[in-house]
């Protein structure tokens, strides 16, 4: 596989959320607003990239029987670093994300890419694969955060868009359902529907 494909494919044919169905938990829980979604997207991208790189460097020395524990230790070390950085510099967002930063450890994208790619590939392609999958995940997260915050609470990044546009005075109402958790699932379902009707070969029989 070419290096550019490693970055490009996760956006379309091999998107971690839409096609591989990995890392769904966090994608649904943190997207009620744009800001936590962006922070989460960046954190996951960093963790996937670095853990892919580190595991790929160690891949020949890890005994296969205990590889899951080794992978978990590497990933959780990185996640602790991310958690501490967030607590130090973005305390309010880190409170909002609560346990979901910790849950990056068990985020299936991280483990999935380690198992499927980093254990058998050289460091540089692994790093790119991590970056590509992290960005593919980020695209979905940011889309969801954008739609849910805009229609659910009428703001974007805390800025009252709908109010400034003067929509409330002509009778516009926020759709309270959008900030509720179940709507995230339905939106992902609709995105998958749209994505698979564009890529017929991904449809299940």
């Amino acid at each position: 596989m070419k290096n550019t494909d490693l970055i490009k494919l996760p956006f379309s044919k091999n998107n971690p959320i839409l096609v591989q169905v990995l890392g769904v938990c966090s994608c649904l829980a943190v997207t009620a607003q744009l800001k936590p979604a962006v922070v989460m997207a960046i954190s996951v991208t960093v963790v996937v990239m670095l853990s892919n790189l580190i595991i790929s460097l160690m891949r020949n020395t890890i005994p296969p029987r205990i590889r899951i524990i080794v992978q978990l230790v590497v990933v959780s070390t990185l996640v602790v670093l991310v958690d501490q950085v967030l607590k130090a510099y973005m305390y309010d967002v880190s409170k909002q994300l609560s346990v979901f930063v910790g849950l990056i450890i068990t985020n299936c994208i991280v483990m999935g890419r380690l198992e499927a790619f980093a254990m058998v590939q050289k460091p540089w392609p692994s790093l790119l694969d991590g970056l590509g999958n992290g960005l593919g995940y980020s695209v979905i997260l940011i889309t969801l955060g954008f739609v849910r915050e805009l229609f659910g609470s009428g703001t974007l990044w805390g800025y009252p868009v709908m109010e400034k546009l003067g929509l409330y005075s002509i009778g516009y109402e926020n759709n309270g359902l959008m900030i509720m958790p179940p709507m995230a699932l339905i939106l992902v379902g609709l995105i998958i529907w749209w994505h698979r009707s564009r890529n017929k070969d991904l449809c299940e029989q």
Binding site: A29, G102, T106, P182, L185, C203
Partner: protein
């Protein structure tokens, strides 16, 4: 807070799947038939029931701020809570490995039916978040933590069995090709989540 309150609350109000979307990956991947999903549900409940109390003790006696005063009073200002992520996941991975070996030794038939899922539970978000929520909500004693773990496990079990039953029936219905499989499962889970939202604000 009494035990029954925590138990009911963790099954319905704070259902791991419908309220927090935890453990979605295996929930989506394994929910094709009722039988396998019931097996996975039992395994997750079992692992939660063992790991949460252990992590509760770990948190209480080692990790929480000032927890180590029982060793010597001079350790009162030691705060190891930044280590809790690594400690929890290490405990979970070790317990899962141990459970796998014990089940393999004493009940080969159960091992064969669960075999594939057991190692996967180590990376199931529902198990990890059981420990993290336990730490965040600060349960008063080990009994409450255990009841919470049992309730969350049963809630997860109910959710995965319910979706598996629906998916078995769905096979006979006419769904647009692009929506088949994962897509429709997402939308149904969303609708079920709305139904579960009616438990919100439910007080005992």
């Amino acid at each position: 807070m009494d035990y029954i309150n925590i138990f009911i609350k963790s099954i319905f109000v704070d259902n791991m799947i419908f309220a927090f979307f935890l453990g979605m990956c295996s929930y989506l991947a394994v929910s094709k038939t009722v039988k396998t999903s019931a097996g996975l549900g039992i395994a997750v409940t079992f692992v939660l029931l063992i790991t949460v109390p252990i992590n509760y003790l770990l948190n209480k006696f080692f990790l929480a701020p000032g927890a180590m005063t029982w060793i010597s009073p001079s350790l009162a200002d030691v705060d190891l809570s930044f280590l809790s992520l690594i400690m929890f996941i290490a405990v979970i991975a070790a317990i899962v490995q141990m459970v796998e070996m014990i089940v393999e030794k004493f009940s080969p038939s159960l091992y064969n039916s669960l075999g594939i899922f057991l190692p996967l539970i180590a990376v199931n978000c529902a198990v990890m978040s059981g420990s993290l929520f336990m730490q965040e909500r600060g349960y008063a004693n080990i009994g409450e933590a255990t009841v919470f773990a049992l309730g969350s496990g049963i809630g997860w079990f109910l959710a995965i069995v319910a979706i598996a039953a629906i998916r078995e029936k769905l096979r006979y219905s006419h769904i647009p090709p692009a929506l088949r499989g994962v897509g429709i499962t997402f939308i149904i889970t969303g609708l079920m989540g709305m139904a579960f939202m009616s438990f919100m604000g439910f007080k005992l």
